[in-house]
Subunit: 240 residues, 2 copies
């Protein structure tokens, strides 16, 4: 194993399926979910990739091994690979991204913006998702700005904010004002995170409607409002 091929902690690799949320919604994607996170959001819907209690379920895989799996799942046909977590930025995904790009694949990465990495510049899309008050986490904006700078070479940088309540919404408006040039997606939060509990598509729709009513009432036309489409399609089931 070379110095550039240290093992990664991987919670799951699955796909191809469609991206269910954010600016790339609907795009065929293979997902690489990293294990481990520097945050503990109160409503985390991916605790299996965050809490070290699940650490035994994470695979230690070299970048070469992860790449082989992505390549196999996609039949060697280039597509977008989404790296999520947990917070994938606490690990070094630079080597994986370099391997995939060499074969024509693109990489999107989603992170809260708490750790900046040089290899953000190699992404086709960097999704910065600062966590709102309902998460119980407090963003470090100086580091967030470092992430923005690191991502300047990426093909696109977008901001996505999850909204659970009025407080989150007011916070999102302030944050958005501080970053007037970033494309912005707002996504209603999903209070049901147990994969065993069925989620009705209509419930997801209703939470989005609440958000639609808010922005249209205020005439705030900047953000795109998008649901977690995968939850509408598959509920909270994993691996789809």
């Amino acid at each position: 194993m070379s110095a550039t091929d240290r093992p990664l902690r991987i919670a799951e690799i699955f796909g191809p399926t469609i991206q269910g949320e954010g600016a790339l919604i609907g795009l065929p994607t293979v997902f690489v979910r990293a294990g481990g996170c520097d945050y503990r959001c109160s409503w985390c819907d991916s605790l299996h990739a965050v809490d070290s209690a699940f650490r035994d379920s994470w695979a230690a895989m070299s970048s070469t091994e992860v790449w082989a799996r992505v390549r196999d799942l996609s039949g060697g046909r280039p597509l977008t690979v989404s790296i999520s977590g947990g917070n994938p930025a606490i690990q070094d995904f630079g080597p994986l991204i370099a391997m995939g790009r060499a074969e024509g694949y693109g990489f999107a990465l989603e992170t809260q913006g708490s750790v900046a990495r040089d290899w953000f510049a190699e992404l086709s899309m960097l999704v910065l998702s600062p966590k709102p008050p309902s998460s119980g986490q407090v963003p470090d904006w100086a580091v967030f700005d470092d992430c923005l700078r690191a991502g300047q070479g990426a093909s696109a940088v977008v901001m996505k904010i999850v909204i659970f309540d009025d407080t989150d919404y007011a916070w999102a408006r302030d944050v958005a004002d501080s970053y007037p040039d970033l494309p912005l997606v707002l996504q209603p939060g999903n209070p049901e995170v147990d994969p065993a509990v069925p989620v009705a598509a209509q419930d997801v729709a209703d939470r989005l409607l609440w958000l639609v009513d808010k922005v249209t009432a205020e005439g705030w036309f900047r953000p795109r409002l998008l649901p977690q489409l995968h939850v509408m399609l598959w509920g909270n089931r994993r691996g789809v």
Copy 2:
């Protein structure tokens, strides 16, 4: 009334709400639906804007009047205006677009690509939506290519194809191959077009799942697959 302000036939103007389909999904939008169409798709979900039996319900409005209404609905705050139909390209929306652009608004227009217009170049997004075999219509590809050329000055041109069945899907693959550079969205068809009949969000989700299974099984990773989100949110209700 000036020579550039001839009346338009308008089926409805509504919003702001979010765009429910295509590349701008989730974006706050005011909709201007033009009355009249040169096509008669078998499954048309907007017959009230197509069939001349509904002509008496269409308003004759000058571009100035349409613009005043859009401005009023949006509170004078610039947003994206979506011009749809029917086929809006059979009328002259150039003056309306010029009025809106002068105040910072952007315009998206959706058309089957059967009539080319110089003012396509003034759009922020031209959506060309050639109709598949299930529609019973046959595209004139020479005119479609004229539309593409006319839209070269637009900020973006995308292709959207509605898919009802396997025949439509195979056709979409061929068409997509003929236009390798166009961003492509596939959208499952909605067989229920009666606004009085409730549509379950889950039914829309199931039709999208069928399409997800097809593209992933074939490894065709180019198109984005998106539902009619507004149907998931509001069923076939009009004016939302």
